[in-house]
């Protein structure tokens, strides 16, 4: 009984490892990857200060109950926030919550909703890059 061709065995082991390492959740990206992708789409570089100003500022273009990102995510995105229903929102800064900005579809869905609720329009690619740059720096 000789063992099967060693290289096949190795390949199978590698394949098994790949499967294990593959994301269990739909995690398909990282804050850095998203940041580069939005910068590329915008054709410009992100700016932390602009991101901070957008996030912490009070806006008037959106829905009256949600004038700011901080309405729900608070002035400190490393802390837990609260939806208007009282439900807890886990921290938004990736430094405090490693699940953030790891799933493209989720990020796009919430940028879509929340920019519209707060600003009354979509965020631009550059604004998304600014926001991720600032949140990742915390």
């Amino acid at each position: 009984m000789t063992s099967p061709i060693p290289s096949l065995k190795a390949a199978m082991a590698a394949a098994a490892l790949t499967v294990l390492a593959a994301p269990v959740l739909a995690q398909d990206t990282s804050p850095d990857q998203l940041l580069s992708a939005y910068e590329a789409e915008a054709g410009a570089s992100a700016d932390l200060a602009r991101g901070q100003a957008l996030f912490t500022g009070q806006h008037t273009g959106g829905k009256p109950d949600t004038p700011s990102c901080t309405t729900c995510h608070t002035m400190d995105p490393r802390a837990k926030g609260q939806a208007r229903t009282g439900k807890v929102i886990e921290p938004l800064a990736p430094g405090a919550n490693p699940e953030r900005f790891t799933e493209t579809a989720k990020v796009e869905k919430w940028f879509g909703r929340n920019c519209n609720s707060v600003l009354g329009r979509d965020c631009t690619a550059l604004e998304k890059a600014d926001l991720i740059a600032w949140l990742s720096s915390l």
Binding site: D65, T66, G86, K87
Partner: protein, 149 residues
């Protein structure tokens, strides 16, 4: 066994949906559970009639003052589920609101106010943040239990 009992139980529950029992069947559809639980718990579909769920699912871009919109495929699938499990599904009568009204809130229904008016202190409400935050006061709410606690 449970399967056979369900229609019977539901039939007896007509008025406030929980009169005989503190159990209200929770959402049984993974996509609805996922998409409708980010801002509040996913509410049990039997607490509103089909017309209410359809109205809610067709106005998600202005959902109680927020944008909760979804892609069309997910939106349609969730609407179909909620309608199929609504308080008046399968020919049942929904008695918690008049037939010519389309309530958008469970918390506006007369039974809801009756159950909560005297029982809920200002402090409880402050802690919960909103009457829509069922699970703040009913720890078993996500599993369908609204018993005293």
């Amino acid at each position: 066994m449970r399967r056979f009992l369900t229609p019977l139980v539901l039939a007896t529950l007509a008025m406030p949906a929980f009169a005989e029992d503190d159990y209200i069947r929770p959402v049984q559809h993974p996509l609805t559970q996922e998409e409708c639980s980010a801002c509040h718990m996913a509410y049990p579909p039997s607490l509103l009639p089909a017309r209410s769920w359809s109205e809610i699912m067709n106005t998600l871009d202005d959902h109680f003052g927020e944008d909760a919109s979804l892609g069309e495929e997910a939106r349609a699938e969730i609407e179909a589920y909620l309608v199929s499990a609504a308080g008046d599904a399968n020919g049942r009568r929904f008695r918690a609101a008049p037939a010519d009204e389309t309530p958008l809130r469970i918390t506006d229904l007369p039974w809801f106010n009756r159950e909560h008016k005297r029982e809920v202190s200002t402090r409880m409400l402050e802690r919960a943040g909103s009457m829509s935050n069922c699970s703040a006061c009913h720890r078993g709410a996500e599993r369908g239990y609204f018993e005293d606690d």
